[in-house]
């Protein structure tokens, strides 16, 4: 096997972890794999933040994972914005977990890229040039959608993840 890499999500005050999330749908509740139809966001309000990590659960014969990238594809509805702590420069280092909020995120403050970033935008060990040489996790990826009162509900966008693996 190649390295086993999954996306984990952290929720609640107690940092409950859900390994290998099946989607990253966002809505009005703090939960992994949530149903956005059952948990819609009122126009003008925000989704709950997502706190997620790349998790290497097995190296599978590989020796290093690095160069993590995340981005969104698909247009948001109306004037909504998708914000994140992921960035290719002025990276803020590894965030300390805090219970996800639906108020304006103080951690996710820059627009989520809408195409593959030109270099790593999520760190390992607090650095964009960091690497995992054994099982372990990346820094937290924090992101949130902030809507406008005039936005139309039901827009769809999806997340994309990328990493380099040295075998």
């Amino acid at each position: 096997m190649a390295a086993t890499v999954e996306i984990d999500e952290y929720n609640g005050a107690g940092e409950t972890v859900t390994h290998g999330i099946s989607d990253t749908d966002m809505g009005s509740t703090d939960a992994a794999n949530l149903d956005p139809v059952a948990n819609p966001v009122v126009p003008g309000e925000n989704t709950y933040e997502k706190w997620q990590k790349f998790h290497v659960s097995a190296m599978g014969g590989s020796s290093q994972i690095d160069n993590l990238k995340v981005w969104r594809t698909g247009a948001l509805g109306g004037s909504a914005i998708h914000v994140t702590n992921a960035r290719t420069s002025s990276y803020g280092g590894a965030e300390t977990y805090a219970q996800p909020v639906a108020t304006d995120s103080s951690v996710a403050t820059q627009a989520m890229p809408t195409s593959e970033p030109g270099s790593a935008n999520l760190g390992i060990g607090g650095s964009l040039s960091g690497a995992l040489t054994n099982t372990g996790s990346s820094d937290y990826l924090v992101h949130q959608i902030q809507t406008d009162a005039g936005d139309t509900a039901g827009s769809t966008s999806t997340m994309n993840y990328q990493y380099d693996e040295t075998a």
């Binding site: 890499v5 014969g61 970033p117 030109g118 997340m159 990328q162 693996e165 040295t166 075998a167």
Partner: protein
Amino acid sequence: MPQDLSARRGFLHKYMNNDKWFFIEEGKEIEIPLEAWVWHVVFKDGTDLWQFDRVPGTDGKRWFHQFREIDQQNVAIFEMVNAENPELRFSIDVDEGMQIFHFYRRSRLEIGTPQETHVTFYVFGYKADGVGRYHFILPNNRLVITSNKDIKLL
């Protein structure tokens, strides 16, 4: 001086579907599935090393080799070979001062949707005088050569 490329004899050996490869990780033997493209190095003395052994060793097993097992100082040729069609290959003649590299770029696109796709680019090349030359093998087996490690291919 011409290189002794005798190690490339039998080069067109094709991996078989029922072949298995093993690797010792944290004291445990694990099975490593074959990749679509595999590396192969020919050393200056004519010996060679395949990322996925072509023939079983004396223990009867085929072993998987990590890139860091390669003795970089003695590499004459580094090449990527298509596992299904070994006639399809890309080779680099390695000169003094060239540091070869190899990694996978793995992308997971549109996660959680019916269109979710996993894409692997096989990346190899060399650095010389501080400059990298990156070769990206695309899923359609075409090759892109660039000095930009983070070229956008999606």
